[in-house]
Symmetry: C2
Subunit: 95 residues, 2 copies
Amino acid sequence: MTAKLAGKARSQALATIKGWKKVRGRDAIQKSFRFADFNEAWGFMTRVAMAAEKADHHPEWSNVYNKVEIVLSTHDAGGVSLKDVALARVIDAVA
Amino acid sequence: MTAKLAGKARSQALATIKGWKKVRGRDAIQKSFRFADFNEAWGFMTRVAMAAEKADHHPEWSNVYNKVEIVLSTHDAGGVSLKDVALARVIDAVA
């Protein structure tokens, strides 16, 4: 599951998630989220943090008040793996 | 309290906190923190989030696994204010 996605498997896996863009200069995907305020943004991040810890696969993310930027990539795989696609799906479900 | 710090008041206020560096190209201060793992980093961030929400003054921050980067600046003041110094003190106490 930690193998870097490539070719048809990659495009098929990425087709199952929406709004995630390729990060420039590295094999990673990213998405931005905007909430009503910090309280809501933090609530979202907390739910994602729980899921990430459970899956032992963590996002690279930043937060400024009501905005959250998330980058997903699998360090061990050196790029986007099915773990990232799975986490992206959880994130989208939480958001 | 939201006035941008300048001159002697600024240097005196910044002298009360340790390890916070000036951010290049903008009036802000930043510090990096490193923990044992994501669990610890998230625990730290959660305590800071509570304090920030209570003070209604929020950090700009990013997290990658066990690392947390924090930037403090007061949007309304257009730079570093006593609110940032107060939040920096809370952050250092939590860390």
